[in-house]
Structure formats: structure tokens, C-alpha cells
Symmetry: C2
Subunit: 312 residues, 2 copies
């Protein structure tokens, strides 16, 4: 884990330097996916947080559409922008492919005929749209992908990225912290060396609190950045009070609150002054509109206001 | 979870009936991937076991090569046979694709020209091999894919599948239990309703032992089946003793022991009478030979011997 840090630092520095030199270019760090908490030094078991990375991967696409450069810090194997349309779906990627123009069925080719593999015509036009956007982001160096697994690795990378962004970008940097970070972990010193043996009776695990990183992020790492955190709850009554408690405690700009069961079509924007729901209409839900297509433009506007404050 | 059970039962019954009617057809259940242990009824946090599902997904392909029909009971989003070659890799699936014959770069098409998407010629011949095998398995109904998430769901499905296989297949059924099943879980009655709130201080979790399913599997569900379990350890000194302890306790045929750090190129076959290593040579390791290409033919032979015993 530690020996990847110089490589991550180099990639981030190069990326941020490139974009900070472009007049008016804004950059967003999108964090995405859960974190693991290893319970053993040679890790077999870990505590995980539920998150496929849908919110982060989807949001990254809309930030790219809005002209942002995006650092996508994501849990290994969680959903990624663009490829998300073809992974983690009921269909295996190979179901989109066919041979020699035959839809849905592969014929073994005759010996003199070299076989060809194609995208099934049914899926081709959707795939070309996704592929062109993906290539544009890559060719124009607008998307930097970095992955992590454990909560320790996440915090280490986050710290480095925020410091570089804070230094080089000032108010042009946004921090969109959609990753589901564990609140608890097992400190290295307390970790057992080998796999915990199953034995008769119950297993008792004692986990310590993960250090709160939002306070140093806001205060020291990127004090001019526009910082958006997420709050996921299952109890509706706790959503706004806990979001406001978080703003009071850490001093950042915005909490996006969501409930486990309704998060695909409604979120709550909570600031110190106000809170309001961002919701898809029933018609939009029916048509498969993604709520991130509403969330991101609203954030782009608020980020512009934040940049504007400095200029006044 | 419970309401999917009738669908799983119907699929499995149809699949096993079809293959039990084919003279000499053998069927293997391959279980693959980790299990989750929810800590909350509205699950945000869970304990997980490390497993990408590589062993199970790879093994399923070699069983299909050997003429077996395969039930692939796998953790949702873990690796799957065939698609494993293109998922969970450093390359995004879209990196294999290109437009209008241009390798590695997409050109925005001129308005009168409709864009086409292709497999990059560099990857085409490897992809056609994988795709033809995948289509053959699907078209000949040789592969049944079933997925689960929690340890409770895993045990429920395992029970049903084993009972159906045990009844209809007798000695022609093999059980290749490569899933990394949690030893501990939180019983429903002890689960909290909502997300565990982070608060000052440590978090103490008490987990109970998961019921041992190998004993009823061997004794009641599929007493004539050829049953292979896996043992993953990090301490080499524990591998053979713990494997033999497992055989003594549950009375099945074979334990495949593996160590976390060497499992890609060496495993140990442990029976009540003997134990021997199955290892790739350094040259084979260098050439990227998969150890499952050695494991599966050896199992196919042992399974044939097991079937033969009945006939004598």
C-alpha cells in the first residue's frame, strides 16, 4: 500500500498542474465506493460498507459533461464512469457480442473462414455513444482513475490529493465525497497476524473510530475548496439533523443527504442556512432519468457562486 | 431473499432433470466468491470474506471443457466463467473496443457517416475463443448461473440445490465448494433495525457461529455425491491438520488446501489416507498456465473412480 503512494502523487500532480494552467478549468475529486476494514494482517476477513459506486460513477460522467476535469478515486472493482453501463448488470459483457453478424448465437466458423466478433446490432448505437464519451475523456486527459481497497489506503490517497488540489486550484477545486467510508477500523497494532480461527462460541470484535478527516480537509488541506459530503441514513427523522450536525462540526459547504431506500430519486441539499429536496418526478423516474443529471448542474451553479465570491 | 427461492428451485430442477436424463452426463455444483454477513436489518454495513471468485470462475470453465454440466452458485458481482477474462482487470471493457477501424482512438464521425463500433483487432482473436466457448455453454444449456449475496441466502440455496442433485444424480453429482463462507454471522433476532450510529469510543460486535452445513450435506442432502471442500489458511503449519480434521468431522471425500500467498500455483489434495501437492512448474507459472487446468482433470479422474466403485 505505501509503495504505491509516490506513483499516485506523481499522477495527481501532473493532472492538476495540467488543468490548473487552463483558464477557467474546474476540477472535481469524486470519491466512490465502500472501504474495507481488514480484521487480520494477512487479510481474509474484513468489514465492508455497502456501496456499488453507482452515485460516484454516474456523477463523474455528468461532471465531465459539464466540462470539469475529474479525479475518480474509487474502490477497486466498484462501478466506473462509462463502463458502468456494461458491468454489474444482469447481462454479461459477452452477451453484447456476436460473431459473423449472427445475433445472439455463435456459429463455429468453417476452417477457411476466419471468425469475426461484433457488437450485437441491437446494442450498437447505445455503445457508440458511451464509447465516444469515454474516448474523449481519455484522449483529452479529463479523467484520472485511481483505486483503493482499505480505509487506510483511502485516507492516505485522499490526504495527498486534497493537499495538491488545495495548493494548485484554490476555489476552482470541488470535493465530492461520495465514497462510503467506514466509521470504525482495527488499528494495525491490534490486528492479529493470521486468519482468525473459527472455534466454538461467539466471536467478539472491538473496532476503534476512524479519524475524522473532514475537519483537517476543510481547515488545512484545501481551505478554499468547495466541499460536498454525503450522509446516508435509513431513518428519515435523522437525515437533516445529522447533516446539519456535520456542517457545524466540520465547517464545509454542503451535505447531500440520502436515505437507503429512496436515494435513486430523491436527495436533500443541506447547508447551514437551508435544506431542500432534489427529486425526480414520477414521469422522470419512469423514463429512467438519473438523479445525478439534476444534482450535478445544481452543484456546478453553486460552485460558480463560490468561485464568484472570491472575485467580488 | 425468501421470495426468490421458488425461482431458484424451478431453475435447478429443470437443469438437473435435463442432464440426469443424458447417459453418462456428470454435473458439478461450483460455489464461488465470498459471503456477506449483514450487521443491520437495513443493511449498510456487513462483514465480508476476501474472495474475487477467481478459483470458482476459472474451475467452472475447465469443468465445462471436461464435458460437465455446471451450476455456478456465485456471489453477486464476483468473477464469472468467460466474462472473467474481461472484468476485474486493469483494462475497462471499453478499452477493447474501437470505432470505424481506428485502434485506440475514437473519431467523431462526420454527419453523413454512421459510426460503427468494433473490437480492437489486437484483442479480437482471444475474444472470439472466449465468446465461442461461452455461447456453446449457453446454447447447449450446460451452464446455470445463480447468484447470492448474504451467507443466509447462500446456505438456503445450497441446501435446495444439494437436495435436488442428491436425489436425481446420485454419484454423478460433484460438489466443488470453493465459496469463502463466513464462519460467523449475526442472527436476525439480534440485528439492529437501522444503521449503527458512529459515536465516541469503540464498537463491539458479537457474532455467532454459522451452522456447519457440510455435515448435513454429506449425511442427508447428497450422501452419494463426490464432495470437495476448500481450506484457506495463512499459516502453512495448520493446512494439512486442519484439512484432515475437517474430513474426520464431516466425512466427505476431499479437501483442497491452499495458502493465501501461494494459492495461484500450489494446492494440497488431502484425503483421509494421504495428502499430496498439486503444483505448477516455474515454467508453467511464467507462461501463465492456470492451476485449475491441473486441478480439474485430477478431480474428473477421482470422480470417475467414485462412480466406478458403485458399478463394481
Amino acid at each position: 500500500m505505501w509503495n504505491q503512494l509516490p506513483e499516485v502523487q506523481a499522477k495527481v500532480s501532473e493532472f492538476i498542474s495540467r488543468h490548473s494552467a487552463v483558464e477557467g478549468r474546474r476540477v472535481v475529486l469524486v470519491t466512490s465506493g465502500g472501504t474495507t476494514v481488514p480484521l487480520e494482517a494477512n487479510t481474509v476477513r474484513f468489514v465492508d460498507n455497502f456501496s456499488a459506486g453507482t452515485r460516484g460513477a454516474t456523477s463523474a460522467e455528468y461532471f465531465l459533461d459539464a466540462g470539469y476535469a475529474v479525479i475518480f478515486l474509487h474502490r477497486q472493482y466498484s462501478l466506473q464512469p462509462y463502463s458502468r453501463h456494461y458491468s454489474h448488470s444482469k447481462n454479461c459483457f459477452l452477451d453484447y457480442m456476436t460473431t459473423n453478424g449472427q445475433s445472439g448465437e455463435a456459429k463455429l466458423p468453417s476452417p477457411e473462414q476466419s471468425p469475426k466478433v461484433h457488437v450485437d446490432p441491437e446494442y450498437e448505437s447505445a455503445m457508440i455513444d458511451v464509447l465516444l464519451k469515454y474516448r474523449k475523456a481519455k484522449d483529452q486527459h479529463l479523467l484520472l482513475m485511481l483505486d483503493y481497497t482499505t480505509v487506510q489506503q483511502y485516507l492516505l490517497y485522499l490526504h495527498q490529493i486534497c493537499k495538491i488540489m488545495g495548493t494548485l486550484l484554490g476555489r476552482r477545486g470541488m470535493f465530492y465525497l461520495a465514497a462510503a467510508v467506514s466509521d470504525f477500523f482495527v488499528p494495525k497494532a491490534r490486528m492479529v497476524e493470521h486468519k482468525i480461527q473459527s472455534r466454538e462460541g461467539a466471536l467478539t470484535m472491538v473496532l476503534e473510530q476512524v479519524p475524522k478527516f473532514l475537519k483537517p480537509l476543510v481547515k488545512d488541506w484545501a481551505p478554499s475548496g468547495y466541499i460536498v459530503s454525503f450522509k446516508l441514513e435509513t431513518d428519515p427523522a435523522l437525515l437533516v439533523p445529522k447533516s446539519q450536525q456535520s456542517l457545524d462540526r466540520y465547517g464545509h459547504q454542503l451535505v447531500i443527504g440520502n436515505l437507503l431506500n429512496t436515494r435513486k430519486w430523491t436527495v436533500t441539499f443541506v447547508t447551514r442556512e437551508s435544506h431542500n429536496n432534489v427529486t425526480l418526478t414520477p414521469a422522470e423516474q419512469r423514463d429512467g432519468v438519473e438523479i445525478e443529471s439534476v444534482i450535478i448542474p445544481e452543484l456546478v451553479k453553486r460552485h460558480a457562486d463560490w468561485i464568484g465570491v472570491e472575485k467580488r
